[in-house]
Each structure stands twice: as C-alpha cells, then as structure tokens.
C-alpha cells in the first residue's frame, strides 16, 4: 500500500483499463502533447505506453462527447476528458439528448459505455471556470454521475465507470488532484452507486461528497476535540443516489447537515434533505441544515472567491448552531 496523489490514482486506473481492454481509448483536448499530458497532467506519459489510443482532439466539446457516443454505440469504451466541467455546457445537447437517452429511447438496443471525466470547482479562475453542475447532471435519467473525494475511491470508481455499460460523468474536483491517500498496489474496483461512511460518530450526520468531504473531515477533527462526534457519509455516486447509509445514520444521530460546494438553491443538497425527511422525519431532533456555496457568479479576487465557498469552518459553525439549538 503506497500513498499516492489523486491525480496518480486516476492515471493508474486509466493505465490498468487501457492494458486490460483494447476497446478503451482516451480522447481530449491537450491530453497528449501539451505539457506532456493534459492541462491537469492526468494522462501524462500514457500516449507513449498506448500508441494511437490516447489522442488529442479539436477544441469542440460537442464533437468530443458526440463522437465518443457514436464510438461507444459500436462497442468502443471511450474515456473523454473535458478540460473543465464548464466546457461540458458546450456538449450539453450530446450529454442530455444523446448519451443519456439512447438506451431507453431505443428500447435497450443501444448501449453507450463511455466515461466523461471533467474537473470541477475553483482555483482563482473567475466566473466561467469555477462551477459545479452536480445538481444538473444528477437530475438526468440515463446518466450516471460519480464524484470521488479520495485517491482510493478515485481509482476504484474510475475503473468501474470504464467497465460500466452506461454513460458515466466522472467529476474530479480541481483542488483534489494533489491530495494524497493510501491506494493498494493490487487491483480493486469500487461499485458505482454505493455510498461510504468515512467517519463513525454518534452526534450528528454530515452527508457530503467531493472536496467538501475533505473539509468535513477537517471539521470533524476540530469538533471531536470539543466532544462532538460526526458521522460522515460520502455519497461518491450522485446518480443513482445511494441514501441508505445516510438514512440509517440519521436514525442514529437524529441530526443531519448536508454539505456541498455548489449553489444552495435547487442544489443536490435540497434533494438529499427532501429525501432524508421523507424517510426519517420522526427520527429528527432538528430541521436538516445545509452548508453550500453562495449564489453569485464566482469573482476572481482572492477574498471574494474565498467568501463564496464553504470550508471546514463553515461546517463547524453549522454544527455548533445545530447543537446549540434546543428543539
């Protein structure tokens, strides 16, 4: 077991699947020549190992996704990289009207086994390059949506996504690429659609995913020193959404906060809150709270950017508020 970065975990998943299955190809903008392998260097070096199967494409996301759909229909397993999730909007018709529709609309006769990998989140890149579309993507029947938070999950989930016979949108938070974690040297898979308890605690349930898991775990450490133990549920897959652990956890702790980076209104958190109260209303000692991003187009200025985003201290504050209130 070695400690590797999130980026390296993704690369290992790609390498293993490329080696295992000759139908796997990897396409994207600037993933071969530029800087030796991608704007975020996930594919660095792979083109030499797998000649002809890692290819640079035109800057035309509607074609990157659409050509991959067509290839997938005929049995190829394309993994396409959309340089940032913001550019996925250019391919929205292909994602929503084509990738997600084919299997059902054609009565099960067409499969679309493809993966769209894309970095989301922020990094001093201003309004058009700092977004999260978790709620949009997770609302589409026919699409699967995955967002790992740790290198271990990133590797196991990406391998499963590549082997899956449905279109999978695989969200990678920009701030996670350099984070490190233990990853086994031996092969393993993590099934799609299964949430994971990342921390056991008795006092309050936090349901979260992606970068906000890291912030929540920091908050949990702070709170543990005060004697408050968080039960932390990492969703890992956003569609289909596995809330079984979260519901079970709420029945135990009787309190819950949903923590997400994206915009609060009509966010994925709203759906999770609705489902939790439908399933566990009589177990709740307090209204379920949300920690989320502020609803503004992301400013460039450092202080303003930080002000829009949730961090560990926001989770701590929300937990304090909930624990202080007597209902």
């Amino acid at each position: 077991m070695a400690e590797i970065t999130f980026r390296e975990a993704l690369k290992r998943a790609l390498r293993e699947e490329l080696a295992r299955d000759p139908e796997v190809v990897v396409w994207g903008e600037d993933i071969v020549a530029y800087g030796g392998g991608g704007a975020y260097a996930v594919t660095a070096g792979l083109a030499k190992e797998f000649p002809g199967r890692i290819r640079d494409t035109p800057i035309a996301e509607e074609a990157i996704v659409g050509v991959a759909i067509g290839a997938a229909m005929a049995g190829i397993r394309p993994v396409v990289e959309l340089m940032t999730i913001n550019f996925a909007l250019v391919a929205w018709d292909q994602i929503v009207n084509h990738a997600a529709k084919q299997h059902h609309m054609f009565n099960g006769a067409i499969n679309v086994p493809m993966v769209m990998r894309s970095p989301a989140g922020f990094g001093r890149t201003a309004a058009t390059h700092s977004q999260n579309f978790d709620a949009w993507l997770a609302s589409i029947p026919g699409l699967k949506v995955v967002e790992p938070a740790t290198p271990y999950d990133a590797k196991g989930l990406l391998k499963s996504a590549i082997r899956d016979n449905d279109p999978v949108f695989f969200i990678e938070h920009l701030q996670l690429y350099g984070t490190r974690g233990e990853v086994p040297d031996t092969e393993y898979l993590i099934p799609l659609g299964v949430s994971d308890r990342k921390r056991e605690g008795k006092d309050l349930t936090v349901v979260t995913w992606g970068r906000m898991l890291i912030e929540t775990m920091k908050a949990a450490k702070t709170l543990a020193a005060e004697g408050i133990e968080l039960d932390v549920i990492d969703l890992r897959t956003l569609r289909p959404l596995d809330l079984s652990l979260a519901i079970e956890s709420v029945k135990k702790t009787n309190r819950a906060i949903v923590v997400e980076e994206g915009w609060r209104s009509i966010g994925l958190g709203a759906e999770i809150v609705a489902s939790l109260q439908e399933e566990a209303f009589h177990y709740l000692d307090a209204p379920i709270a949300r920690v989320a991003g502020l609803e503004v187009p992301m400013p460039y200025a450092k202080n303003l950017e930080r002000a829009t985003l949730p961090f560990a201290e926001d989770v701590v504050a929300a937990v304090h508020a909930m624990m202080a209130n007597q209902y």
């Binding site: 139908e23 190809v25 494409t57 035109p58 035309a60 509607e62 074609a63 996704v65 659409g66 050509v67 991959a68 759909i69 067509g70 290839a71 997938a72 229909m73 005929a74 049995g75 190829i76 394309p78 018709d93 292909q94 009207n97 084509h98 299997h103 059902h104 609309m105 054609f106 009565n107 099960g108 006769a109 067409i110 499969n111 086994p113 997770a138 609302s139 029947p141 026919g142 699967k144 899956d164 016979n165 449905d166 099934p191 799609l192 659609g193 299964v194 897959t237 569609r239 289909p240 959404l241 596995d242 809330l243 079984s244 519901i247 759906e271 489902s275 439908e278 399933e279």
Partner: protein, 344 residues
C-alpha cells in the same frame, strides 16, 4: 443494375409514398400523435443512396426517417406500429416517428435534434476503423443542419481522422419553413465541405439512379480508406415540414412546379417504360401489392398492444445499480412508487 433491381427501386419508392400518405391519414384519425415528418417527394434520395450500400453499412439519419427505414428493409408493420406507439413498433413504442431504428440492420436510428447525430455517425465510423472492418457510415441530414456547430465539428473531425463516413445532405430547400436563402449564406451546400478540405459532390436528389451512382462512388472511396465525403442531394418536400405545418410559407406555384418533377413518375416514365423494363400491368400490380402491404401495416399497428405500464422503468440503464430505485435514490421500492411526482 439489372431489371429486377431497377423495378425494386421503383417498388420501394412507391411503398414509401403510399406509406407516408397512409401515415398522414392515420394522423388525421388521431391514431398517430406528436410530430410526423413525411418524406413525400424525397423518395429517390433514400432509395438511391441505400441501394448503393451494403446491408451491413451503418446508417444514421435525421428524424424524417420512415423512408430510410423502409428502404433499409425494416418491416412496414413495425414502422407503422412505432408511429402508433405500440409494442410491435421498431422501438416498442418508446421512440415514435422520429426515432425509428433497427440495430440488427445497422440502422442506428433517426435523431431529432438538428445536427446532433453527426458526431455520433463520426464515432461509428471511428469504431469501424478501430475494429479494422470495411463497413462505412451513411449519415443523413437536412440542409438546415449545415448551419449548426456540430455540422462543422463533425466534418472537421471526420476529415482530420480520415474516417469512412458519407455526410448526405438532403437539400429540400427549406429548414422547417425557412427558405435556404434566408437561413444560409452559402446556398450551394456542398461548398461548405470544402472549408474542411473534404471531397464534396452535388447530385439530383430526384433522380434515383443519380443518387445510386453518387453514393456508390463515395462509398468505394471511403471503403478504400480515402476518407469522408459530403454529398448534397437537391430535392424537394411535397408536403409541409410536419403534419403541424400549414405550409403557407412556400409559394403554391413553386410546389406545383416541383411536383411536375416527381421522382417516382420520372423514374417510371424516363427509365422503366422508356427502356421497356416494365409493363403497365406490372405497374398496376406493384401499386396493388404496396397498398395491400400498407393496409396490413395499419391492421398490424391497430392490433398491436400498448406497451405494458410495468416496462416504464426498463432499460433506463444497461447496468442498473442493485436496489437503487428509479427516481434516483436508494429507497425500498415499496416506499418509492408513491413518491413519484404523479402520485404526489
């Protein structure tokens, strides 16, 4: 082509014409709903083009797709049942008029977002090269598609990777109701391919043999690895854009003038009769047979049941996740169904 093959082209065109007229009739009787885009007047394009391809060449089309389905050999019964939204339809009633498909016949479907299927066709062509097979792809669109981004993105990609795909543009001179000169700066559509350094040809879309010959040449070329091509077929729609179109925007004189050059009667008079390849008795027999076939397709569709309600959630995913309910979250099915919006 021998006599039998030529007569077959005629029969296919007549079948499409009669089928479309019957579809319009069934639409008026409310047996068919939603959108219904008829192919009258354009029959020579589909029939000529597909006659020049192998049965295992891949086909992807726009939503004016009944003619392609029939020319590819899909049963008229199944096509009519699909228009009805019945279980005996080509996609069991899931897709309707705009999404006829039969993967076993390499017909990957009709697509309803203008230009949306061009990248898919390009991807199918990539798969053929990846799998080192010599199948080619025919991708059909209307000229209205040639202004949208995916048109240029797909042509660039296909040319860049030298993929075996023919982009067939049916230039019926109206994008829905908007005339070509109003929607496109370039009115000789084939020229748009030249911007992508792509081989481009223009043909008379009312001449079934011209369509056959043009596609045959381009198919050979693509099969030899010489890359993609664009073929512009100049044609005309004899009916409105869809059954919802009152067709007031096209000049009456233009429509009647275009109908003088009917692809079916032109082929019958200028080729089949002229070369003594067919007799009037045979023509009458074909008409009778085709009408019987189309009547049978209506009878089949009428008899075919609606899809069972309990199949609604089938096939949303090829790999459904265990225990995850269809609305998105993992909840026990018993508690889930009432949670669907319909039931409050």
């Amino acid at each position: 082509m021998n006599r039998e093959e030529l007569v077959s082209l005629y029969r296919q065109m007549v079948l499409i014409r009669v089928f479309e007229d019957k579809s319009a009739e069934m639409y008026a009787k409310a047996k068919i709903a939603g959108f219904l885009h008829l192919y009258n007047g354009q029959e020579a394009v589909a029939v000529g083009a597909l006659s020049a391809l192998r049965q295992d060449d891949d086909l992807v089309t726009h939503y004016r797709d009944h003619g392609y389905a029939l020319a590819r050999g899909l049963a008229s019964t199944a096509v009519m049942a699909e228009l009805y939204g019945r279980v005996g339809g080509t996609t069991g009633g899931r897709g309707g008029s705009m999404h006829i498909a039969d993967i076993s016949k390499h017909y990957w479907g009709g697509y309803a977002i203008v230009g949306g299927h061009l990248p898919l066709a390009t991807g199918l062509a990539y798969a053929n090269t990846h799998h080192k097979c010599d199948r080619i792809v025919l991708c059909v669109m209307g000229e209205g598609s040639t202004n949208i981004g995916t048109f240029h993105a797909a042509l660039n990609w296909a040319q860049l990777w030298k993929l075996p795909v023919i982009f067939l543009v049916e230039n019926n001179q109206y994008a829905m109701g908007t005339a070509l000169s109003v929607h496109s700066a370039v009115t000789e559509i084939y020229k748009k391919a030249l911007a992508h350094d792509m081989h481009a040809v223009r043909a008379d879309g009312k001449d079934v043999l011209a369509m056959h010959d043009a596609v045959a040449l381009l198919a050979d070329r693509a099969r030899r690895g010489e890359g993609p091509a664009l073929l512009e077929a100049v044609t005309y729609r004899f009916r409105g854009h869809s059954m919802a179109d009152s067709d007031v925007q096209r000049p009456k004189e233009e429509i009647s003038e275009q109908k003088m050059r009917d692809p079916i009667t032109m082929f019958l008079n200028d080729v089949l009769f002229k070369q003594n390849l067919i007799t009037q008795v045979e023509v009458d027999q074909i008409q009778k047979d085709v009408e019987a076939e189309v009547e049978a397709s209506v009878a089949f569709a009428d008899a075919s049941p609606e899809p069972a309600l309990d199949t609604l959630y089938n096939d949303i995913y090829a790999d459904p996740v265990d225990n995850i309910q269809i609305n998105g979250s993992l909840i026990k099915p018993a508690t889930v169904l009432p949670r669907n919006g319909k039931h409050g």
